[in-house]
Symmetry: C2
Subunit: 158 residues, 2 copies
DNA sequence: CACAGCAGGTTCGAATTTGAACAACCCCGT
DNA sequence: ACGGGGTTGTTCAAATTCGAACCTGCTGTG
């Protein structure tokens, strides 16, 4: 019965890739997180929320949509929106078409906070990842990781 | 004075790479984390600790060395070693050559836990990252991310 | 129209993580 | 031998994160 197939261990190349992935993600994450916190007082999660909101028509988005876009849990988003709301960067508005729904709306202060912190953040991203790679390497990375992320994306409803 | 140079925003290609990086790291991390937690009751951090320890001569390592290898903070490691110690997978031993030092030592139970959980973990890593890429893509990824991680590594003491 | 099943958000508790502050200790130059 | 300076781990409080349980309110079906 269910006897597992012999394990295919990782060879040296594969191990190097996995380890490199872990180290890079860990360090890049810390780099970006630290820069944002020090220079703008925002966590990366909070910054991303502002970005997504600012990219929409009215600067507002349903909680669920936001959560999906941020690859985070619903409860995690509830928490972060609460934090941003306390600081007046975002406010909640109930959805006109669905009583249950909640819209997170970017406030003028939120838009301003984003405008101020964006340059520093972009610089950090360049320093940590973008400017470290040659254009072709960057494209290869985008293609490869795009596939990786896509395959783990929650079912498009099969 | 200190006026910042004009910000070099990210173009579409760069944006795609950054977003892909964020999505991939987020989803891969969750995938691996979930598999380990469900199948072995270990967090990825804990699993990595067992791996590093098992790779050494006596299955032991100084706290600081371990923390560096795991790209984590010292206090974070203290916490995790505490958890593993509670479960009998690791135990602490004071360092013979430095009174301040502490050695984390893998116990037989710890070695056994690692042996049991490794196959499932490797499978998850393959499913999420390794087997999704062609050999050349994997090498390119390793080269690129290796450089990225290396550049953000704490000063080798200049 | 009534109902079962599902979707949207929040709440709650448990587990982690991080940096700062500490206390103890090693090491090197004077 | 001595003192300053850097190291080693731990402790502590604050911030997050996640999944499970819940309550409400949609929605398609009979």
């Amino acid at each position: 019965m269910g006897r597992m197939a012999e394990t295919r261990w990782l060879d040296e190349r594969e191990m190097a890739a996995w380890h490199g992935f872990l180290e890079a993600t860990s360090r890049v994450s810390r780099h970006v997180e630290t820069q944002l916190k020090e220079d703008a007082g925002l966590s990366h999660a909070q910054y991303e929320i502002l970005v997504r909101l600012s990219a929409t028509e009215g600067g507002e988005l349903r909680m669920t949509e936001l959560a999906e876009g941020l690859f985070t849990s619903k409860s995690g988003l509830t928490y972060q929106i609460g934090q941003l709301e306390k600081r007046g960067l975002v406010h909640r508005r109930s959805c006109p078409t669905d009583v249950r729904g909640v819209l997170a709306v970017l406030t003028p202060a939120g838009r301003e906070a984003l405008r101020r912190s964006a340059p520093g953040h972009v610089a950090a991203v360049r320093e940590a990842l973008i400017d470290v790679l040659e254009p072709d390497e960057l494209d290869a990375l985008a293609r490869a990781l795009g596939r990786v992320g896509g395959r783990l994306r929650p079912h498009p409803a099969d």
